[in-house]
């Protein structure tokens, strides 16, 4: 294994044809790897207007140049496909161990084409690639599937799989790997389910080889030490996990409550990272080569160690449905992981239904047969709905389509707190102008992690923090943050290393290559290229400027109380400048000049 193995594994599921082909290293460098490289292949190989769940969609699973290296957190990979949720491009990042296992088997990318006639799983063991019958696995959850396959192939074999939600083609389905790590957003699990692929097992034996191993390992050690010395990555995340944000976000009046009707949760302390640690934490867990270990391990009802909730999960099954019982949040998280459902979208869909019920759109008679309610904080019902969503049963089938399609079916899509039908995460953008611009323009929909303005607008020390209510210059700041996240995703790192900055990433990837492939300027240009290519995909898929917006609640309904009271997001003060900075026209379409400049023409 090296920076790129220069080998693509391509599987046609219809005729069980397995081939390998050379990766063009110049293309790989131009699109960095992982997210960028996957977007390039998807864009070149499918019609963006295709039905996402049809055989003509493809699923690309791809590593970055740093995946499998000694660089801290260098173990990540991306799943790229057309999203059945948004209708645009989906790119979902995951950690764990699977990416390293796949790359060490000798490949950079796996392209899945067409659909298998019956459930299969794919077994990759270095050069050996087999398509196997998965009829005995179909219907099992992610934990059962992983344990069953590791029983056969051993614990060194790493398992990526779908749960029942992927099998029933829920648009909220994700892909699980290593039991509780997730390629989470945009319905990528439904695409895998549509292809009748239950799991992909990877077992690789090669070690990462560098042209100058001493230099590369010295740089890796230096960055590792730096991350351990930083308060956030050396102390905050390891001790509290991502849920450490609950109290601070809430104190700023940015914690969405009851499907974003409120922005301050009186009982936030009960669901905070501090409470999670003090009452539930068994130990922490880490992905491949990660010195941070933000993962939480808690006990489930049977006393078994399972993955604990992240910040977003704590919020969506907590404040967003007026629930302050962290025990139930742990249970909801466990169900989502086992069924293979994106926690943000699954919780947001239920919270949306709770508001639709409160407002009288959903009637008691519609859900009577399910025996469950949509009353706020009725967590026993929430657990029941999650099961019905994954199985595609009763009213759960409507919930499994996502909040937008649910609200739209009642003629009130405005109650879906989503952008491009992807549910927004736990930062109320009425109190963070840049975050709103990021949500509106993110090529995969309402997402924070691909350009999170929380560090700049909320978390930073006051001396360098941006005024979160100001719009001037915010387009430029968002562009920089989005480019940084694009680089991180494409290299194969975790976003929590972002403090090393672009020069740090360039130093690490060049050390993997053993030559000066990138400068800070050229890697930013590559990020511009990737983001514009994703935008181009969406444009050809039929998305327009009208999709680069926010729910009306964020644009028109001021926050009612708390530290962000009186504010709405002033998106349209920022959007024209953002398009201009990207080299897109006034409608948000990349101009011919920009495409030529970025080598995309």
């Amino acid at each position: 294994m090296k920076v790129f193995n220069e080998k693509i594994l391509r599987i046609n599921l219809k005729n069980s044809d397995v081939t390998s082909e050379a990766l063009d290293i110049d293309v790989a460098k131009k699109f960095i790897g992982a997210r960028g490289l996957g977007a390039k292949y998807l864009y070149d190989e499918i019609d963006p207007a295709v039905d996402a769940l049809s055989p003509d969609n493809k699923m690309v699973i791809v590593c970055g140049p740093a995946t499998g290296s000694h660089m801290p957190t260098g173990g990540r990979f991306m799943v790229i496909t057309k999203s059945p949720l948004t209708g645009g491009i989906a790119y979902a990042n995951s950690g764990g161990m699977w990416g390293q296992a796949f790359k060490s088997a000798g490949y950079d990318m796996l392209i899945l084409e067409q659909q298998a006639d019956k459930p299969v799983y794919i077994y990759i063991d270095d050069d050996k690639v087999e398509i196997k019958d998965a009829s005995q696995l179909w219907g099992k959850n992610a934990t059962e599937t992983t344990e069953a396959l590791q029983e056969v192939y051993g614990a060194k074999a790493k398992v990526m799989c779908i749960g029942q939600a992927g099998e029933t083609l829920s648009r909220l389905a994700c892909i699980m790997n290593d039991i509780d790590r997730t390629a989470g957003r945009g319905g990528v699990g439904a695409v895998m389910g549509s292809k009748n692929v239950k799991a992909i097992v990877a077992n690789g034996t090669s070690a990462f080889e560098y042209p100058d191993a001493d230099k590369a390992k010295a740089i890796a050690m230096e960055k590792l030490k730096w991350l351990r010395e930083q308060p956030a990555t050396g102390k905050g995340l390891p001790s509290m996990g991502t849920a450490m944000l609950v109290n601070l976000v809430n104190k700023n009046g940015l914690m969405p409550v009851k499907n974003w009707q409120g922005s301050f949760y009186e009982k936030a302390e009960d669901i905070s990272g501090e409470t999670l640690r003090d009452k539930y934490l068994v130990k922490k867990s880490a992905c491949f080569r990660c010195p941070i270990a933000c993962g939480r391990v808690v006990k489930n009802a049977e006393g078994k160690d399972i993955g604990g909730p992240e910040y977003e999960t704590v919020w969506v099954f907590g404040a967003n449905m007026d629930n302050n019982d962290l025990g139930y949040i742990n249970m909801a998280n466990e169900l989502c992981n086992d069924y293979g459902m994106d926690t943000i979208s699954a919780g947001a869909s239920i919270a949306c239904a709770m508001e639709l019920y409160e407002k009288g759109y959903i009637k008691d008679e519609e859900i009577a047969a399910d025996g469950l309610s949509f009353k706020w904080a009725d967590m026993e019902s929430v657990l029941g709905w999650l099961t019905k969503m994954a199985m595609g049963e009763g009213f759960g089938k409507k919930l499994a389509e996502g909040s937008y399609r649910l609200a739209e079916s009642y003629g009130v899509p405005e109650y879906s707190m989503s952008v491009k039908k992807l549910d927004m995460p736990a930062y109320d953008a009425r109190g963070m102008m840049g975050q709103g611009l990021n949500y509106a323009t993110c090529t995969r929909g309402g997402c924070h992690i691909k350009g999170n303005m929380n560090p700049a607008e909320v978390l930073a020390p006051p001396e360098i923090r941006l005024d979160r209510f100001a719009t001037e210059g915010r387009a430029k700041a968002v562009q920089g943050t989005v480019n940084l996240a694009t680089i991180v995703d494409s290299l194969g790192f975790c976003i929590f290393t972002r403090g090393v900055g672009i020069p740090g990433y360039v130093e690490m990837v060049n050390a993997c290559y053993g030559e000066e492939v990138y400068t800070p300027e050229s890697i930013v240009e590559a990020a511009e290229r990737i983001f514009t290519l994703e935008k181009l995909f969406n444009t050809k898929a039929g998305l327009t400027m009208a999709d680069d917006t926010l729910p009306p609640r964020l644009l028109n309904e001021p926050i009612k109380s708390g530290p962000s009271e009186g504010h709405v997001n002033r998106l349209y003060e920022m959007l024209p400048e953002y398009y201009e900075l990207r080299g897109w026209d006034a409608e948000g379409v990349p101009t011919p000049e920009t495409l030529a400049k970025l080598g995309l023409a």
Binding site: A232, M244, E274, Y311, L459, P461
Partner: protein, 74 residues
């Protein structure tokens, strides 16, 4: 004068969730951080009575000061 300090994240370790302090007149946020033996540049977010404050913000009798270390995540 008496003030209340609310601590968050790992700042609670060894100090507790809430601390009542007797501070001198015109004491600032920075003075309180020092009194609690919290290292330089550890605290990134500070609020007085739930309103954003800085290191040199002055406190008055009965104020509630919230201190957060530099956080990340999401």
């Amino acid at each position: 004068m008496k003030i209340e300090v609310q601590l968050y994240s790992y700042l609670r370790d060894g100090r507790g969730k809430t601390v009542e302090l007797d501070v001198h007149e015109h004491a600032t946020t920075a003075d309180v951080i020092k009194m609690l033996n919290i290292g330089d540049n550890v605290v990134a977010n500070m609020m007085i009575n739930d309103v954003d404050a800085g290191r040199e913000s002055a406190l008055k009798e009965g104020d509630c000061l919230s201190l957060f270390p530099l956080l990340t995540g999401g």
